[in-house]
Every structure is written in C-alpha cells, then in structure tokens.
Symmetry: C2
Subunit: 343 residues, 2 copies
DNA sequence: CGAGTATACTAAATTTATTAAGTAAATAAG
DNA sequence: CTTATTTACTTAATAAATTTAGTATACTCG
C-alpha cells in the first residue's frame, strides 16, 4: 500500500483476506464475528493506520449523521451578542455534547435549508428565522424539527407560557381603567416600519411568541377595563437598539402620553427607561415600565426593571433533550415575575 | 411513485427514461447536455418534488463538504461567554456565510476529531484546545487546518505578533531596574496549580501564544535591566475568573510586593485592578498594571486599563479567508497599544 | 448417526450520487 | 462523398460504507 493512499474498509478487507462485511462488523457489530477474529482485525487496522469506517459513507448508508443544525433567528453575530440567545446556545450545546452529537450553526438569513438538510439528523430552531422562507422549508422537511420560542405546525417545541406571562406582567403595570397604555411589540407587522398598529385583528403571526405575548397583553388590558382602541401599539421590527429606540421615541412623543409602557423585551424596556430618564420624567411615579425576558442587565438598570424572567439556558437544554429523545410534544418551561422598581 | 418515498437521482432518471448521468449533469454540469433537455429534466424534477442531488452522497463522491469545523479552545460556553472569543466566531461566521460554507462548532474538550473529520473540509482552530490530544490529531489529519492564536507545525495560521506586542506593553510598565515585577501568565505550566514559576527555561509551550507573549515580557525585563530571578511569575491555569483571582491574590500577597503587574489577558488585569482597589492601594502611583487583548470592559474599568488591543473579529475573518483561499502561509494582523490610566 | 440449529463468515445488493470512457448521430472540413 | 470533429447522451466504474440473504462448518440432541 503506497504511503499516500488512505485505507478504506474495502482495501483493508482485501489486504487482510476477509470480506468487507467482516471488517465492517469488527467495527460496528461485534456480535457478528468471533472475538478472536475481531481482535486480529482491529489490531491490523490500527497497525496499518485505518482509523475505522468513513463517517460520511456510514452516515449516507445508515441515514444517521450525529449532527444537528441549530437554526438561528438571525446571523451568527446575533447569537453570540444577544444575552438571551447565547444562553440558549449554551444549553443546546451542553446536551448535544453529552450525547456526542455535533452542532452546526445555521444562520437564519440563509436561503435554503437544503444545503445542510442532507447532512443532519434534524433542526433545532430558535425563534422565527429572519428569512421567512425557511419556515416553509422547515415545515416541509422530513427531518426531525424541534422549535423554541416559535411554532411550526405541531412539531415538538419548547417555550414558556408566553400568553399567561404577558398577561401577568401587563396586569402589574396596568392599575386603573384610566391608564394610558403603550405596547411596544416585536414584529407585529410584516414591515420594517416603526408605526402605530391600529388593526390588531389579523397581526402577522409568523413570530408566534410575539403573537402569544400580545394576546396576553390584550387579555390584561381588557380585564383592567381599558379600551383597546385607546392603547398605542407600536411595531418594533427587530429586537435591537436601532428599532427599539425608534419605537420608544415614537411612543413617548405620542399625545396623550402613556403612563404605562409595556415592552415585549427587556432590551426595549431598558431603552425606554433611558429615554424616560433623559426626558426628566420619573419612573414609576409618572410612567410605569415593564419588560420581558429577565436579562442580567435588567437588574442593574436605573430603576431596576420589573419583568418576566425565563431561563434561556434551560430552554436550550429542554429543546436539545426533546430532539435527542425524539419527542414530538410541546413542553412549557417555568417563568417568574422579577419585581423591580420600574413598576 | 408512492407518496411516502423520496426521490433519488436514480429513481428520477428511471422515471424520465434517461440515464443517471444525464440527471446529474442537468443539476451539476449544464454544459454536458442540451439546454432543452436540461430544462425538461429540471421542470420534471420540480414537478415530482425532487429538490436535487443528495448533498451527503454528493460530498462523499466529490470529497467536498462545504462545512468547516471550528475547533474551540474549550466548551461552547466559553465561546459565547468570552468577549474576545465571541468576536472571533463572528468574524469566521461572516466570511463562511458569504462563501456558503457551513460552520460546525467543535468543542475543545471533545475526545476525537474523527467524529467530524469525514464530514468537513477542514478545521479552523482558535487557540489551544483544552484536550491536548486534539492537537496531535490535528497535526496528523490530511484535512486542511488553519489555526489562530496557536500553531501546529507549519500549518496556516493567523495572530498578532505576540512577542513584540508583549515586549512593548511590558516596556511601558517597567520604568526602573529596581521595579518589582509580577507576571501573571496563562497556562505556563501543565498543571491547574496557581503557583510561582521558578524555572522558565522549559515552560510548557502547548499554548504557543502564551509562550510567545512570555518571551516578549522576558525581553523587556532583560532590556530594562531587571533580574529575571527577582520577577514573580505566576501560572494562571485558565483565562477565567476563578483562576485569575487565585493568581492575583497570590501575586499581591507575595513579599516584597510587586509595583508592576503584567497580565497576559485583560480579564486577569481587570481582576487585579479590583483587588488592588479593594486593598486601598493606588494605581498607577503605587502599582502599575497592564493587560492584553483590549476588550471593551478595559475602557470602562477604574482606572482604565493600559493594554494591547487586537481586533479579534478581524482575526476570525482572516482565519476564514486563509481557509477559503487554501492559503498555507502564516499571517500577522496588526495590534496597537491602548493607553489607559493604569500605567 | 441423522436432523436440526447455532456460529462464522461471504457474496451481492443497497445507500445516493459523480465521472471517465465509450458510442451513436449530427455537423463540418477537405 | 468521405473523414474528422463535435454534440449528446449512456454505460459502468467509483466513492465508502452497511446489511440481507445465503453457505459452510461445527455443535447439540434424540
């Protein structure tokens, strides 16, 4: 055998004068051959420098890859930058690591899951991918799919009870039927526009946690006896500084000014607090603010934020476990209210 | 064709009454068949729901996977937590995304690169993997390898000129031959022990950036006329809070107390500043501190940190570009001194 | 001792695709 | 009109494995 050539199962079998099947069995099905023969073969392979069956060929044949694609909501940058998202990745990674499954990062701005679909055992999907075509592709794929903070048909998924959590935090914020409420909601519309939403009857539901949270808010608003038509509902296109600031400014400048600001994420709420501080208005005396997520920064803001805390790492762990265990059901993870000074 | 069956190139070819080769060519080598026939075939495939050749089989045959494994120095957690590391991932990811190459995260505490080796076009290695067996495996692999902040034989690599940078920052800190110097170095020994290193002649060099930086420090120390034997050299096992704090405490409690603290990372330096503040000693009057890396937090510390800044994201970009361009050379990226108030 | 069964192995089919080599027909050149 | 070239395709080998079905040998049991 020339130095340069890499061994294959076939060439090894030929060299050792046994069948392909026997070499394959020596590595993968020990019960199919005698212990003695198996030892001989493994020893020879080691000596010749054959490390074992090629994983790509093995996977093609078996249809098992030991790789799962983590479909990110946005570019990889978002995933390592956003505190909530990065915790989720950690959770997923820790479980996969234990199960010797590899993790492939798949950007939510990619065009097509086809490029990886044939290489992975399935997808773990965190939030709604920015490229919404991916959703349809994920819906159609035959591969296993687990979603988190986001639903695709009736595929396995994990999240908190967003509706109840949203209702709970909104109830804390709303204290009188006369309150002037502003809701800063994520991706309520299918547009980048930072604008007031008037018709809430058929909001864009592609990003279902936003939808669920909104339903919870609405419930709290109705139960408090506030007219929904008096509520200023604002669209925040993406959960980042730029869009959050635009929406916050728009909401704060609207007349009559709201005295209750319900934010669909802590990021939005923290920016709201900053802007309100800058305007010299006092929180919570003049305006009450609530957030959602419970990120660490919310504990350090001035004033500290009243929000819903959810354990994002645990969500990642649960999502990966659902995947590994081939579960098909939906799992709710716990949440709790964090009582800050902003409300 | 029953509903449940997935099409393959073969079954499609049979159905359309053409050869496998023709279908393959329709998708992958348009010049090999007439435009008319090609259109017919592609249209039929679309209609039948065949999305194109299976990528796994394609890759097996071609030996090209469009996946690169990013070998992390530690668990995935480290990569999303550490500010320097996460910037590097961003850089790598952005370039790979542009080139439609997928990114597989490979934990540095994994046992064996074999599990992914047959699935990827190669490895981008960021820092020395914690499981040092991986280094030997990466040395032996036939796959393409690019390293960053770390060298394997003469494989392609990217980093700053650590030796000169370290020498430069150390020179800033050392101002007299009578200075009492403490060096807090990363992974100088092959042990978890936080201890003083007396014999610097054969330090563990598996983590080569630490080694290079140490050589730079030594050069500066010698040029300043300070006896190396008078310098307290301390081993920081890993760049995290736990080990950094242990080493900082040990160094600050040693007699005679050092008035120059040279830290091999900003993380260590920031902890040193905190401890020094807590002891009521003033920086830089009584003790001068310098770091390495130039993370954002170094600009916000009290006092601000004097350190070496390196662009970690650019390092990731360069590493990925070296990989994509099949380069084999080593590339240095620029660095610069950040003048803070700590020195 | 003969029938039935377990063991240890092999041959060949299978997984899904690419590609070099070969062939027939159509076109171009002389 | 013959020969050379190009075009358009097919056949069969190849990539690197797993696995079912089949065969020969050895063993067990009545």
């Amino acid at each position: 055998m020339p130095e340069n050539k890499t061994w294959t199962l076939k060439s090894i079998a030929k060299m050792l004068g046994v069948s392909n099947a026997t070499v394959s069995n020596a590595f993968s099905r020990p019960d199919q051959l005698s212990a003695k023969r198996r030892q001989e073969i493994l020893a020879s392979c080691k000596e010749l420098g054959y490390a074992g069956p090629n994983k790509a060929a093995q996977s093609l044949r078996k249809g098992l890859f030991n790789i799962v694609a983590l479909v990110l909501p946005d570019s990889v940058e978002y995933m390592v930058t956003d505190p909530v998202a990065s915790k989720f990745v950690q959770g997923v990674a820790s479980v996969l690591e234990k199960n010797k499954v590899n993790l492939l990062l798949f950007s939510g701005i990619s065009e097509n899951i086809n490029s990886v679909s044939d290489f992975v055992d399935g997808f773990i999907c965190y939030g709604s991918p920015r490229n919404t075509e991916l959703i349809e592709q994920l819906r159609l794929t035959r591969k296993k799919v687990v979603t988190a903070d986001f639903d695709i048909d009736r595929k396995a998924s994990v999240s908190i009870d967003n509706e109840n959590a949203a209702c709970e935090i909104a109830k804390l914020a709303i204290q009188s039927p006369d309150d002037k409420i502003a809701v800063l909601g994520l991706r309520l519309l299918d547009t980048e526009l930072t604008c007031r939403v008037y018709d809430t009857s058929n909001l864009d539901i592609d990003c279902s946690i936003a939808h669920q949270r909104f339903i919870g808010y609405k419930k709290a608003i109705e139960q408090a006896g506030v007219q929904l038509s008096s509520v200023g509902i604002w669209n925040v296109h993406e959960n980042n500084h730029h869009f959050a600031l635009m929406a916050v400014k728009a909401a704060l400048n609207a007349k009559p000014r709201a005295n209750v600001i319900i934010c669909m994420s802590d990021l939005i709420a923290l920016i709201a607090l900053q802007e309100i501080n800058a305007m010299g208005i006092s929180v919570p005396q003049d305006i009450r603010v609530v957030g959602f997520d419970g990120i660490d920064e919310a504990l350090r803001s001035t004033p500290t934020l009243t929000t819903i805390h959810q354990n994002s790492e645990e969500k990642g762990i649960k999502a990966a476990e659902l995947f590994i265990n081939k579960a098909t059901h939906t799992e709710k993870i716990p949440y709790h209210v964090v009582y800050g000074k902003s409300c």
